[in-house]
Symmetry: C2
Subunit: 358 residues, 2 copies
DNA sequence: CTGAAAGCGCTTACAG
DNA sequence: CTGAAAGCGCTTACAG
């Protein structure tokens, strides 16, 4: 028995030509008897087609490349998980590479995947000059940015994450409960979804206050104390999961009733559920994996010629989940309660840390 | 200009044969003038060799597959990041797949990579029957388990993580400071490194106490209170990073001096540094990525015939980092202080949650 | 329904 | 140092 059976071996043993064997295994026209025989022999020999030969002949490799700027953060991980699973269902395999934050490496990795003849390329939070992009375009290989784009990748199609819907649901609910002033706990290390929340809230008719805090464990008691001393008091606090939990506990310690006197909303990454707390927090739950699922489906549609991929696609990755920390506010309520127009959307494009915004 | 230049195009334009062009580009014997000319033309045309054709001819694909049982946890992510970067340096690309926790999928993904003709396969925390393994062996393609192995994968080589050295360093230091009783904060959802610490400590001459806690935010005050009431008191607490931070704060609130009356050691994943606290915690810092680096280097050595890969390799992934939470204990010290033999090692094999151990 | 043959793009022993 | 040729394993129009 040869180390690796080829189609030739199968054909020989089945007493047919390679052409017939090929057709039988690819499920094309062939009479039932030979088909059965060929399949049987193939199984016997453990025959598996040689992908390299097939790719050479078929031009396409059924392989997609993904170059990550970083690969060790939550977002990238969840994206990758979803992407690889979704692509797998369409029969595509994923080649992965990471630039580890180095611009030049990003470009060089993109270039290197050209040799692998990937059928398409995902650039996750790309940076660099995109020198190889023209070659991809010339060869008709789509190069799609995920989450964000910058530098030389500005003209590529983009699939980005948005939490617009979830935030608007949360805001609408807050207003219906009588809230007018929402506070955002804002760590130094800016968080994309948190900033997105802030901007969307600002465009709504709610008053938004920012509580700037240091990274690391938050001084929840300090924040709550200063908040309670405000004249027109903030009645909702929005914070990243970790901080939200601490606020919840601190409120308890300070005898501030949640949600009677204060509502708390957490912004939580899906992966955090693993280490999860069981506090009944209201939250905006993020599923960045949805970008991967959408990206896979959009790409395959494009490759099949069923749709065209260009411009930007915003994928809603937020879910609004109401827990026990959303209460009615009447006491602190201001006099006017004018109707508020629907807030415009906002795309949360990437998660690169350290981007300055005011 | 053709969409994709082939070697034939390059040769034609350079006025040489494909053979010569091939040799020139692969840096083999050729006269300097033609070599220069060929390279020039190749650059002009943006020529990049077709990997499929090359693989077909060379038998090897310079591609490695990695099948993950899960891909959304810290460990897998850090492993992948390191693995992909290390392999890249050796010229190998990585194909990724995830079984998403489903046993049958694991097997089927392993099988599917056979078609891609991967030169080697990594099985990360594999589960399932390993039905395709015999075929890999027959084809001389190494299939290596990472972190752990089980089921049908029991006979494959394994590269696992160990924190033996870091724990022994920590224990030695604790003893030198006079500690004799170490407490382990043990959440329901068992943590591999924490359990490993516990077992190694038990085999040393220290007394080990377990504080079983629920998942989610720990009741640090409760734990500390009950600890302070013990007769022969625990003087060191070992906990996962999140819990350790809370213990530190609770000790502060209860006026328990750290490290004067209590030492605290955190077990921390490298990725957690991102969201990091700046508390001067003593810690065992985990870098599971080292398994990836070692795996890549061991594999490449094996493929080059420079070494053989079999049995188990334990990669030390822990670093002992002493911060400000390690203090001298004299008050609670017991009478005897017999010499303690070196503790035997312990391999921390995987991170599958829910494995029952007593 | 089946087979012989061409060809995808590369590399490498073999002559020259 | 260079070129012609064979062949890696597959698929698919083309005859039969």
């Amino acid at each position: 028995m040869k180390v690796r059976a080829t189609l030739h071996d199968v054909a020989e043993r089945a007493g047919v030509s390679v052409a017939t064997a090929s057709r039988a295994l690819s499920g094309r026209k062939s009479n039932k008897k030979t088909l059965g025989r060929v399949r049987e022999v193939a199984a016997e020999l453990g025959y598996v087609a040689n992908g390299a030969a097939r790719s050479l002949r078929n031009v396409r490799t059924m392989t997609v490349g993904a170059v990550f700027n970083q690969l060790h953060d939550h977002l990238s991980t969840e994206l990758l998980d979803a992407l690889v699973s979704a692509l797998d269902q369409y029969g595509y395999s994923l080649l992965v590479a990471t630039a580890q934050g180095v611009e030049e490496r990003f470009d060089s990795l993109v270039h290197r995947f050209r040799e692998r003849r990937v059928d398409a390329l995902f650039c996750v939070n790309p940076s660099g000059k995109g020198v190889a992009l023209a070659r991809y375009a010339a060869a008709g290989v789509p190069a799609i940015c995920l989450f964000s784009k910058s530098g030389g990748y500005e003209n590529q199609p983009l699939i980005a994450a948005s939490i617009h819907e979830a935030v608007n649901l949360a805001l609408a609910r807050l207003r219906s409960l009588g809230h007018q002033i929402v506070g955002v706990i804002r760590p130094r290390r800016r968080s994309r979804p948190l900033e997105a929340f802030r901007e969307i809230a600002r465009k709504s008719c709610m008053t938004v206050r920012s509580y700037e805090v240091h990274d690391g464990p938050i001084d929840a008691v300090g924040v709550l104390n200063s908040m309670m001393n405000e004249q027109q008091r903030t009645t909702v606090l929005v914070a990243l999961q970790t901080d939200a939990v601490r606020l919840f506990e601190a409120a308890d310690a300070l005898s501030i009733l949640v949600p009677g006197a204060l509502s708390i909303i957490a912004i939580r990454n899906r992966a955090q559920q693993m280490t999860g707390t069981r506090l009944p927090l209201s939250m905006i739950l993020l599923s960045p994996g949805r970008v991967g699922v959408e990206a896979a489906s959009a790409l395959v549609g494009h490759l099949r010629g069923e749709r065209t991929l260009w411009g930007s696609i915003a994928v809603e990755v937020g879910s609004w989940i109401e827990g026990g920390t959303m209460g009615t506010i009447t006491t602190v309520r201001a006099a006017t309660s004018a109707e508020c127009p629907a807030a415009p959307g906002h795309v949360w494009r990437d998660h690169a840390a350290g981007t300055k915004r005011s």
